[in-house]
Symmetry: C2
Subunit: 214 residues, 2 copies
């Protein structure tokens, strides 16, 4: 008896889930969907990335289901923090975009599962169970293309210069934001453009984003 209890694995207790997504409706709907399975229990819902760790500390979930696009803190950053501060909590990332770089960054953040939002519904519950068991769950097609894509050739500052120009800022604006000289900014942008094979910084931005290099 003692032995059986100590096995810690197969008491028929439910999997405790934390959900993070900034869109109330989809978060709620997914929570309902998961709650219908009788071995799941959604113990917390948050709408901002920076709430993930505090809430996880409070209610110790088995699995955290994180969206990537979130205010406050990016879901991948949240995953990294979570992995470090609440290592017992496995992470399943659930995102709209199947970008290579997202997957790469997710893996670096210690994420176990990576699911795209247009996966068939049946897959979700399955993925949660497997992640709870400690298995890796990744779409093989996406995994392959990620491997093929290689890792980012951009240096930190080149990346900074690119993202600082997202909203259509001029070189002068970017220079101000990064506390750099205009010439330096132009150099970084130029490097980023040539590395991505683009002809504009706009195109470079788009390409880099698709590759997940931002």
């Amino acid at each position: 008896m003692n032995d059986v209890a100590a096995m810690s694995s197969q008491i028929p207790t439910s999997i405790r889930i934390l959900m993070a997504d900034d869109q109330h409706l989809v978060r709620g709907a997914l929570a309902v969907l998961l709650s219908l399975e009788d071995d799941f229990e959604v113990v917390a819902e948050v709408s901002r990335g920076d709430q993930v760790v505090p809430v996880a500390l409070a209610c110790s979930p088995d699995v955290a289901l994180l969206d990537i696009e979130m205010p406050g803190l990016d879901g991948l950053a949240a995953a990294a923090l979570l992995h470090e501060q609440v290592p017992t909590c496995r992470v399943l990332v659930l995102t709209t975009f199947g970008r290579s770089g997202y997957l790469r960054r997710a893996m670096e953040a210690g994420v176990l599962g990576f699911l795209v939002k247009d996966a068939p519904v049946e897959q979700l519950a399955d993925a949660v169970r497997r992640v709870a068991r400690g298995e890796r769950v990744v779409d093989p097609v996406l995994a392959a293309s990620t491997l093929a894509g290689g890792s980012s050739p951009l240096t930190a500052r080149e990346r900074d210069a690119l993202v600082a120009g997202r909203d259509g800022a001029t070189v002068a604006d970017i220079a101000q934001r990064l506390f750099l000289s205009e010439g330096t900014v132009r150099n970084y942008l130029s490097a980023a453009i040539s590395k991505t094979g683009a002809r504009n910084r706009i195109e470079a931005l788009r390409l880099a984003e698709d590759q997940g290099w931002l």
Copy 2:
């Protein structure tokens, strides 16, 4: 008896719903959520805008729940077609972005309800019921900002020039795509930039998009 049956309004029959969203997971989850209400029946699910009308013709739903960002055909265009070809079907648009222009275009397309995806969950069922009854459902805050925004100051070609430059195309590229001279393109872009109050065509693109002028 005859009279009662002929009243057509209050037989306790369920509201037939068609769902269109390209993300399987959220579409499925929302469908489940709605199916839990016993006066709802999700009779069809599609993942592309161009499937909306054919499927609606086949299964004659009372309410169509349309996402905007969809492959094949934009949800708003689908709504317009639906309104014209299946006028008995009321439309509720459900979108990620609460952009003024989306709302405006939705209204022009004969849409009855407009709901953002981060609305609280309880609101969805309520919105569906009200739309089914023929009531308008729109977030008052969004409605106000839309009214304030006014309608697009851009001419058709200015708009064309802007959108043709979305992916970071050069002026020469845009000129080729629109079969115009480079100078003309520059003129259009210049006009668009000054009308939006931007300093770049990139910024102009962003601003115009936020206002829904594209």
